[in-house]
Symmetry: C2
DNA sequence: ACACCCTATATTCCCCTGCACATAGGTCGG
DNA sequence: CCGACCTATGTGCAGGGGAATATAGGGTGT
């Protein structure tokens, strides 16, 4: 379950309440592309406590309701590390959050993990996504609705595929750049 | 349910079996970013038949198992149009498939719908996503694990946010370009 | 001859997850 | 004073959706 590792990964950096986790997901975490609603976060936290991966202390607050502040346990740290080291299989859809999740929350534990995940992702994208996508051929379609303008419709499909192609290309460029920076031993100038 | 409208939208263009729908989702439809597994497609098709939005004919095939080839009904066409005309609320995560789905499967029905959806999306992205994201501040974090290199971890968060920022920027550029092309009345040169 | 994959449909089990709602104190504007 | 909104926690319900499995004919490789 991806949400488990988002929570464990964030708790590696600092203690957080369920409410904090949601704030992160709606804020900076938006770019990672994975998000769930509050009830789900609370439910997952309960399960993670049951499993012994996280624990909490009640933080009594004067001018706000009491909060449960969660922290990572030793078992949770091991679970996160095990996930981070498990084989990474890229998703067929480049915009899926799988890679970014692995990269950030796995990679933060160990430089070798970060490098290996980026390398795997890059190889996969070069193999399956670097090719120029095919144009849809009008003769393959026979609209059931006479009012539908087939050229218009396929034009929209084409421009969306162009968006996807451009996005994927710059994604691949980012993967190459990031890989070389990681291999050089530092990521920020 | 988004899957309903993916199916209705594809059936607007041509008759398809459940298996065909899955092939499209794994192939060209990958760029739209919405995908489910086969069992879910079959389940949805059953529900759409019950609701009267689609119907099927059994296609007896010589050298392959018989296939159910689905087609759009009048009620299905109306349901798709109603969805396409309903107010569009952009998702807070730019990579969610909501916009692309609306744009392709709503926009193919009517040029005004396509223009309106792109305009709404562009306004939203300019408002919420055009700003440079903040850098994470190291003093806000207190890792529980001494082995964790906080600068390294935050560096990874930063480069992923840079990827998100670059992606969003080129997405906004695409929205502007597409809007002006749509307003000019044609999308392809 | 046998293994394996492709087309094609579908079910069962079980968990994930969104929506609506409940609770409750604090703050702020009208 | 009241409504609206923020912090902060949850519950109940219904439906979405993945993994594994079943079935079954045809083609392809070794």
């Amino acid at each position: 379950m991806l949400l488990d590792y988002v929570i464990l990964g964030m708790l590696t950096l600092r203690r957080l309440s369920g409410y904090d986790l949601r704030k992160w997901m709606e804020g900076p975490g938006r770019y990672i592309g994975y998000g769930v609603k509050l009830p789900q976060i609370y439910r997952r936290l309960v399960k993670l406590v049951e499993r012994g991966w996280v624990a909490f202390d009640v933080d009594v607050r004067e001018r706000a309701p009491d909060a449960k502040v969660y922290r990572l346990t030793e078992a949770g740290r091991e679970a996160l590390l095990e996930w981070a080291r498990s084989p990474y299989e890229p998703s067929s859809r480049p915009m899926d959050p799988d890679f970014r999740l692995r990269f950030v929350f796995g990679g933060q534990l160990d430089r070798e993990i970060a490098i290996s995940v980026v390398r795997t992702e890059l190889e996969y994208r070069l193999k399956y996504d670097a090719a120029t996508p095919e144009q849809p051929r009008a003769d393959q379609y026979e609209p059931e609705i006479p009012e539908l303008d087939l050229d218009w419709a396929l034009g929209l499909h084409t421009v969306v595929r162009e968006l996807g192609f451009a996005t994927t290309s710059s994604y691949i460029a980012w993967l190459k750049l990031t890989l070389s920076r990681l291999e050089a031993g530092r990521i920020l100038p």
